[in-house]
């Protein structure tokens, strides 16, 4: 339903997105991870048409109108001097909404006469979310907002997000560093590095492909290591790609990892490569 072909973006001669090819299906929940500067946010913004690519294209399913595409980011600075009521009216006109869903505002006890600039960070996110919910979104882009809000509001947000997904079969594409609460939600994980997608797997499959070994000595070279971390007297080796054959051939304990640990090892591997290539 979203088809990305050969997408490249350059900012002032620097390649930020490098010939990306990927497809997203209706109803998928995709999480994009990667180091700072990998191009995640630019990728989201290009998908939405905010950033213009130098090459390639993004095609949406014909069934999806612009009004059904929601976007949430911690950078969305919008109508600071508006009251909530004015913000809602504005958003309703731009997106041609039939009606505003005020469930979340009532839940937070927010007064419509409050000015946007007087909301707390968490209240802003949920106000923005209630505007997005009112769009009955077919696609929802969420850029790094989970970590900005407190645990209670995070839960409120997640519960409403899951309800929206169920009601509108929404395709959700999120950019995330922190996973704790949503560990088990994404169905598909993308890892970006230097403007490219270096991993694109279902959450189920990636967990079978990466494992951790703890060892005091060096491990044999035929075990593929993505990232090695020194911890006190021993080393942690993040093995990728892992196959069950390795378990038979070597007498190590290959341990399962959480999604957060998997993402961290990919990013850790990136920084190690970077250090080596800089020769320090």
């Amino acid at each position: 339903m979203i088809d990305v072909k050969d997408l490249s973006v350059r900012f002032g001669g620097k390649t930020v997105l490098d010939a990306i090819n990927v497809q997203f299906e209706k109803g998928e929940f995709v999480t994009i991870a990667g180091n700072n500067g990998a191009g995640k946010t630019t990728f989201l913004r290009t998908l939405m048409g905010i950033v213009t690519p130098v090459k390639g294209e993004v095609t949406y399913d014909t069934g999806i109108s612009k009004g059904k595409i929601g976007f949430m980011s911690d950078r969305s600075g919008f109508f600071e001097n508006f009251t909530l009521k004015q913000g809602i009216d504005f958003h309703s006109r731009v997106y041609r909404l039939d009606q505003f869903d005020d469930t979340l505002l009532r839940h937070l006890g927010l007064d419509l006469k409050t000015k946007v600039k007087h909301l707390s960070v968490g209240e802003r996110v949920l106000f923005l979310f209630s505007l997005v919910i009112s769009q009955k979104p077919g696609i929802l882009f969420i850029d790094e907002i989970l970590h900005t809000i407190d645990p209670y509001l995070r839960e409120v947000f997640l519960e409403h997000l899951l309800e929206v997904i169920d009601r509108f079969n929404t395709t959700v594409i999120t950019v995330n560093h922190t996973f704790s609460e949503i560990e088990t939600i994404p169905g598909r994980i993308l890892v970006m590095e230097d403007g490219r997608i270096i991993l694109d797997e279902s959450a189920e499959v990636i967990k079978t492909k990466i494992k951790k070994i703890e060892s005091t000595g060096e491990i044999p070279g035929d075990i593929p290591v993505l990232y090695k971390k020194e911890v006190l007297e021993y080393n942690e080796y993040y093995v990728y790609p892992f196959s069950e054959e390795l378990r038979k051939s070597f007498d190590y304990q290959f341990r399962d990892l959480t999604l957060s640990e998997i993402i961290k090892s990919f990013i850790g591997g990136y920084y190690v490569k970077k250090r080596i290539s800089r020769g320090s």
Binding site: L162, D166, I185, T208
Partner: protein
Amino acid sequence: MFRLTIDAGLSVPVYKQTAQAIKVEILSGRLKDGDKLPPIRELAKVIKLHPNTVAKVYSTLEEEGFVESKIGSGNWVKYKNKKLDQLRKVLVEEEFRNFIDRVLAVGASKKDIKELMEKYLNGEKND
């Protein structure tokens, strides 16, 4: 509402873990034949899973013969006693194997295991 815990650190797929947890609820008697299961949207919100994952949990349980899905009215616990006995046998053996692995890992001998088994099984009887 019954309690389900999912271990995000395991490579066992989340839908399988959830289906397994519901089967344990059935075996323990907390969910009975004919009970209504929570609607997909509600369960998704409570255990923080994607609605598609919850739908997969219910369809897996239906295939395995523990749930009946009625169009328009939701999902219901439904099983044959024979099916339940089979499941109990599998789970008991699985738990037992795990237990043996753990005590062997901390250095128990076969003799230790036998003696302790006798002790605790008989102890329970005498209570």
